[in-house]
């Protein structure tokens, strides 16, 4: 399991270009993940690999094709210094775990990586780096395995309730 390291402001057009948005199947989307930006990703990414971005990862469009393309490529965890709002929520909803790590600068492309979610850290480049957990109400969705699983068991919601 390796790290795929990217820079700051990785936008959803880079993750999955607009011309592939009629595709919804994660495995098919994965064939075009980072096309034109980092072509070897689609060929070489393996189950369990981790995508590491800089700040503002996933900025741009609301297309859920972006987390789906990463999931289709076998990526289950994205680590970044910070995330764009819609991508973050889409990731949680679709079962891609977004983790905020202030020290991503210490991780290099190609590093072997392991993630200890319970322990709240990732290990790469021989270092243990703390990650911030998913907050409050989104944690419940993560624990249930995504928003579909969460919503399936709900008949109604209590509108205007607060957390």
């Amino acid at each position: 399991m390796r790290v795929w390291k990217f820079g700051d402001d990785i936008d959803t057009d880079a993750i999955i270009p607009g011309r592939f948005l009629t595709i919804y199947d994660p495995a098919e989307l994965a064939k075009h993940a980072f096309e034109g930006t980092r072509d070897e990703f689609a060929k070489e990414a393996r189950e369990g690999d981790v995508v590491v971005g800089g700040s503002n990862f996933g900025c741009g469009s609301s297309r859920e094709h972006a987390p789906l393309a990463l999931l289709g490529a076998g990526v289950r965890i994205v680590v970044a210094k910070s995330f764009a709002r819609i991508f973050y929520r889409n990731a949680v909803n679709t079962g891609l775990l977004p983790l905020v790590c202030p020290r991503i600068d210490e991780i290099r492309d190609g590093d072997a990586v392991s993630v200890d979610i319970a322990g709240g850290c990732i290990e790469a480049n021989g270092k243990r780096l703390a990650v911030e957990p998913v907050p409050g109400f989104l944690k419940r969705i993560v624990d249930t395995g995504g928003l579909v699983a969460y919503a399936k068991n709900l008949d109604e919601v209590e509108t205007c309730s607060t957390e």
């Binding site: 607009g18 011309r19 009629t22 700040s55 741009g60 609301s62 094709h65 764009a84 399936k152 205007c160």
Partner: protein, 417 residues
């Protein structure tokens, strides 16, 4: 207690006082889905066990990204969505009306104080109508279709007070680009921008929509223009609603207060490949362009087309070798421009005028760029690969700058034309 507009909207809609940072299951007044992200939302709705949508009257459906269908999968998506609309009794604007955000606004589907979501990041456009409007993903939309509500974290707000008077051929797009340059691509992440001040009050609805539209380019969840007489004129002309006051309190807990004066603002250009990479037009003047696109939900309204036509003036033709693509944002705006003779002028000068749709804006349909090509676009994103090849370059500017650049075949200051 003093509150921002965002806090007031959530408090009013939830019937109790909520503050920035609170997480609420808020009711959704309108939900917009289109041809690209809609099919996934509909599928998710089914997977969630959804049978009937919460309220067909509150759902806005239309197709704009790939219209008329540019591929068989796109056509299949349209068929799939039409069938869903029929089953559920949802009014479907189909591909007849134009770009989603323009259509929601001009059909009066957004009003002050409402909470609106759309499966499109530029849903924040409806902040121009004083709504709290934000883009969501398809899975969240599946949830909204089923329950009519969604978890929101009430955002902190940045107050953006804009004063002064725009110079000749400088306007809303230049303001919002300069703000993006200043605040940065993630400077407002998770927050709402609240626009106020004399220059905002002077601005027409088209300009306000341009500003609210690009709030997302700073990471913002919403961009809300404080409603005033112009807002209410626009909204009450489109639906029955009793005007009321909705303003942020002077002593509300804004995260930050920013002041801008537009009096000396020069035309702005976002240079490749980030929206916050913004310079005065003079710094990139002379850059050769292969394509100029005037359109999109940011700048495809009648006022934008009129601004471009005014710069075109009586010139015979756009520069040789430049492809000029003009796409009105909606059928209504198209007709206005047509009747004003503007479309005729564009065609005479050599532009391709297409029927209302997103067009080259997101590189999903036509008007794509080859490696090495340069485009100047009035849309909202210049990400690498956004309009075709990842080796192409996209510059963003106002309709006036776009028209001036189309006339000379290179990026040109519209004040010098």
């Amino acid at each position: 207690m003093a509150a921002t507009i965002a806090e007031k909207i959530f408090s009013q809609r939830c019937g109790r006082t909520v503050r920035a940072g609170d997480v609420v299951m808020a009711p959704v007044d309108a939900a917009m889905i289109h041809d690209i992200t809609g099919p996934l939302a509909v599928r998710v709705f089914g997977e969630m066990g959804g049978e009937r949508v919460y309220d067909p009257e509150r759902i806005v459906m239309l197709f704009d990204h790939q219209v008329p269908a540019d591929s068989i999968p796109a056509a299949e998506n349209h068929v799939f969505m039409r069938r869903f609309a029929e089953e559920q009794g949802i009014h479907n604007y189909d591909l007849l009306e134009g770009v989603c955000h323009q259509v929601v606004m001009e059909k009066g589907r957004a009003a002050p104080g409402e909470i609106i979501v759309g499966t499109d990041s530029h849903t924040c456009t409806y902040g121009a109508a004083g709504a709290f409007a934000t883009g969501i993903g398809s899975t969240d939309m599946g949830f909204v279709l089923k329950f009519g509500a969604l978890y929101f974290r009430v955002p902190e707000s940045i107050l953006v007070e804009v004063n002064g008077t725009f110079g000749r051929r400088v306007g809303a797009k230049d303001l919002i680009l300069s703000l993006a340059g200043d605040i940065g691509a993630d400077g407002a992440t998770y927050m709402a921008l609240e626009f106020t001040g004399g220059a905002m009050r002077e601005m027409n609805m088209a300009g306000r929509m341009t500003c609210a539209n690009m709030a997302i380019e700073m990471g913002a969840k919403a961009g809300i223009v404080r409603p005033d007489a112009a807002t209410w004129d626009y909204v009450t002309a489109r639906r029955e609603i009793e005007p009321f006051d909705l303003a942020g309190d002077p002593d509300a807990a804004y995260r930050e207060r920013r002041h801008y004066d537009v009096t000396d603002l020069a035309p702005q250009v976002a240079v490749p490949h980030n929206v916050d990479n913004v310079v005065d037009v003079g710094e990139v003047a002379g850059t050769k362009v292969d394509q100029v696109f005037i359109g999109s939900c940011t700048n495809g309204r009648y006022e934008d087309l009129a601004e471009a036509a005014e710069v075109l003036g009586t010139a015979d033709a756009f520069a040789t070798g430049v492809r000029v693509i003009v796409i009105p944002a909606s059928r209504t705006e198209y007709l206005k421009a047509l009747r004003a003779g503007i479309i005729e002028r564009f065609v005479e000068a050599g532009a391709l005028v297409e029927a209302p749709c997103c067009g080259p804006c997101m590189g999903g349909a036509f008007g794509l760029l080859a490696p090495g090509e340069v485009s100047l676009s009035t849309s909202n994103r210049n990400f690498r690969g956004r309009q075709g090849s990842t080796q192409a370059s996209v510059y963003l500017a106002s309709p006036a700058t776009a028209a001036a650049s189309a006339l000379y075949g290179e990026i040109t200051d519209p004040r010098e034309v």
